[in-house]
Amino acid sequence: MATPLTLKELSKKEDRFTHGHRMCSGCGAPIVVKIAMMATEYPVVVSNATGCLEVSSCISEFTAWNVPWIHTAFENAAATLSGVETMYRSLKKQGRFDKDKEVKFIAFGGDGGTYDIGFQSLSGAMERGHDMIYICYDNGAYMNTGIQRSSATPLGADTTTCPAGSVIPGKLRARKNLTKIMAAHDIPYVAQASPSHWLDLAKKIQKAHEIKGPKFINVIAPCNRGWRSKTNDAIQLSRLAVNTCYWPLYEIENGVTRITVTPKEKISVAEFMKPQGRFKHLFSPENEGLLQRVQDEVDREWAKLQKEAKTD
């Protein structure tokens, strides 16, 4: 049931995640969701962790979701969806659900609801082998509550709980590599994607739907409020994230790593950071060392990934 992934065909499709939601102007997350929901013809049931996407897409009697959608709490989008998926299997087994109808299950969570508070629930659901895709839209902080540090917040970033002050220059720890941690669960499919490379993202979603079992896709989602960037920069910034190798695009299918997009020229991570106010302090002379550490981290991770990756 593959949707032809051409703009011409996709533009004819009815939106499953519609306009009218109340996400901020220029937010990267709804772009990710829209592409993910478009990339399949299967009926889809969505579970949504508490966060920007959830509070802005289903309010009182208004919903942007044209598919069955459930939100219960912050830390448990995966556990909640594992319940929905299990009921689906139970009813199907008992002949109480159309045996010819194949339903797909997607959970959406931000980085706070995925890397941090929802980590246990995610790990449990993946380990149990539920047939679902968990998609994290990673904007690098708790943006819904007002830009607080998460374990996805990059090294050096200024947030409201790790502010760049006169003594401490923002976050002193590097971000946790959740994509790799999910790969360590030995699940059949793990990927990293970006809305700037929409076709790559859509292909990964499509591929994941065809694989039985738990899948995890981590997608960078610029937040102009938290990144202190221009409202029309989401795509440009996510492209810079890919081209600096800050956010490499790759997939790990049954343990085999493949880089899906290799930047023509790997540019300095400073190019990704400069347009963002959250890194402004790193460009003052006293923080030169920290800026270098960010570059070193990126280089090290990229080298590691290249080593792991199968070359086509």
């Binding site: 009926p43 049931v45 579970s47 959830e54 509070v55 289903c58 309010i59 009182s60 009697e61 919903t63 979701w65 044209n66 598919v67 069955p68 959608w69 459930i70 939100h71 219960t72 709490a73 830390e75 448990n76 556990a79 909640t80 969806l81 594992s82 319940g83 929905v84 998926e85 299990t86 009921m87 689906y88 299997r89 139970s90 009813l91 087994k93 008992q94 109480r96 659900f97 109808k101 339903v103 246990q120 629930s121 790990s123 449990g124 659901a125 380990e127 149990r128």
Partner: protein, 392 residues
């Protein structure tokens, strides 16, 4: 034909769940509940039920998965105790707020700290304001009967609320008692097929579960939850009537024992009621008119009915196996609220007993009844809240 068996409370509940044959079950171990769900896991492994289990990584995920499964559209169960129920606390509100008829035996156990695995009611009392129906059980038979009836109450189309069935940890969960099982088919017929209401898996009419609702309508949602709770007692009685026809066992929203002409009375939950009844008989033999009231339905609390049942007495002791530090015991607070509305009401006192599985002895009941006799005669309560069976 009913089958007479000698089983533990956990085994009785596991068998009730087997007979009901739920669609999905969340399983996570915690003493003293573990043994119930592990028995149920054997039923699944041996193909005795159609249930799909979810072997979750915590009770929080168990309740989250149960909510997802129930919203999807089907019959869902889990069971827990103590810290497990406490960990679920956030999700308990969401199960009731989403009006999902999940059934959960709660094997009552003390809460940390200090760590204690034995029976008291702190866990379920801590969950009394979560919007769940609570049925309490004196023994294995009642735990079994309540579990079966809970499905009918929770799934009633006028109710659609989750329900917990409370039984005392170890005292009931692990003690072997004589009791009667109904036939599998009888239970199946009594509970009936699951009736869906707004299932998430209805792909033709997509539903949104769990929206954001702020100052415009939240207040109304919560009022509606209270309104539906006011209908529960009648449904509990209606279901109990049907159950009596089937089993010969009569249930109300509370049980009274020699209370009709009593001057003094004890109000007490669960297993300690049995011990108390014996001591009441001894006092009756001495010519003292003592009686007992044992609530079965604690949420919603039947204020008017309980006030009516107690108003003729002269002195009542409400006994709590849980505490509200800096406040009265939770059962006392309810009975006290109920009686305040009565024009003529008894003197009231509150005893905290049996915390962390401390034995409740016949001598404790005798001590309370003796004090009640003095209170009734003098018309005075010296100390409203006291601890009994405590080492000084």
């Amino acid at each position: 034909m009913a089958k007479v068996v000698a089983v533990t409370g956990n085994e009785a509940c596991a068998n009730a769940l087997r007979q009901v044959n739920p669609d999905v079950c969340g399983i996570y171990p915690i003493t003293p509940q573990t043994d119930m769900m592990q028995r149920f896991a054997s039923f699944i492994a041996d193909g005795k039920v159609d249930t799909e289990s979810i072997l979750v990584e915590s009770e929080h995920s168990s309740m989250s998965a149960c909510i997802g499964a129930a919203a999807a559209g089907g019959r869902v169960v889990t069971a827990t105790s103590s810290q497990g129920l406490a960990l679920m606390w956030e999700m308990l509100h969401i199960a009731s707020g989403d009006r999902l008829p999940i059934i959960m035996p709660v094997v009552n156990r003390a809460l940390s700290a200090p760590l204690n695995i034995h029976g008291d009611h702190s866990d379920a009392m801590g969950a009394r304001d979560t919007g769940w129906i609570q049925l309490w059980s004196e023994n294995a038979q009642e735990a079994y009967d309540n579990t079966i009836q809970a499905f009918r109450v929770a799934e009633h189309m006028d109710i659609r609320l989750p329900a917990m069935v409370c039984l005392d940890g170890f005292i009931i969960s692990h003690s072997i008692e004589r009791m009667e099982y109904l036939e599998d088919q009888q239970v199946k017929d009594f509970v009936g097929p699951f009736r869906n209401f707004l299932p998430l898996l209805d792909l033709d009419k997509p539903k949104s579960y769990g929206p954001l609702i702020l100052t415009d309508l939240y207040h109304e949602c919560k009022r509606a939850q209270h309104e539906v709770m006011t209908k529960v007692a009648d449904v509990v009685l209606e279901v109990a009537k049907d159950f009596e026809k089937l089993s010969g066992r009569k249930y109300g929203i509370f049980e009274t024992y020699r209370l009709e002409d009593a001057d003094i009375a004890i109000v007490i939950l669960n297993s300690a009621a049995g011990t108390t009844k014996d001591v009441i008989d001894e006092f009756r033999d001495k010519g003292i008119r003592a009686g007992l009231l044992k609530p079965r339905l604690f949420r919603p609390f039947p204020y008017t009915e309980i006030a009516d049942a107690l108003r003729h007495t002269r002195a009542v002791c409400v006994m709590d196996r849980a505490d509200s530090f800096g406040g009265y015991g939770p059962l006392f607070m309810e009975v006290s609220s109920a009686l305040y509305q009565a024009e003529k009401r008894p003197l009231l006192m509150n005893k905290i007993y049996g915390l962390g599985g401390r034995d409740y002895l016949p001598s404790h009941a005798a001590q309370v009844l003796t004090e009640l006799t003095t209170v009734a005669e003098s018309g005075k309560v010296s100390t409203i809240k006291e601890y009994i069976g405590v080492r000084e």
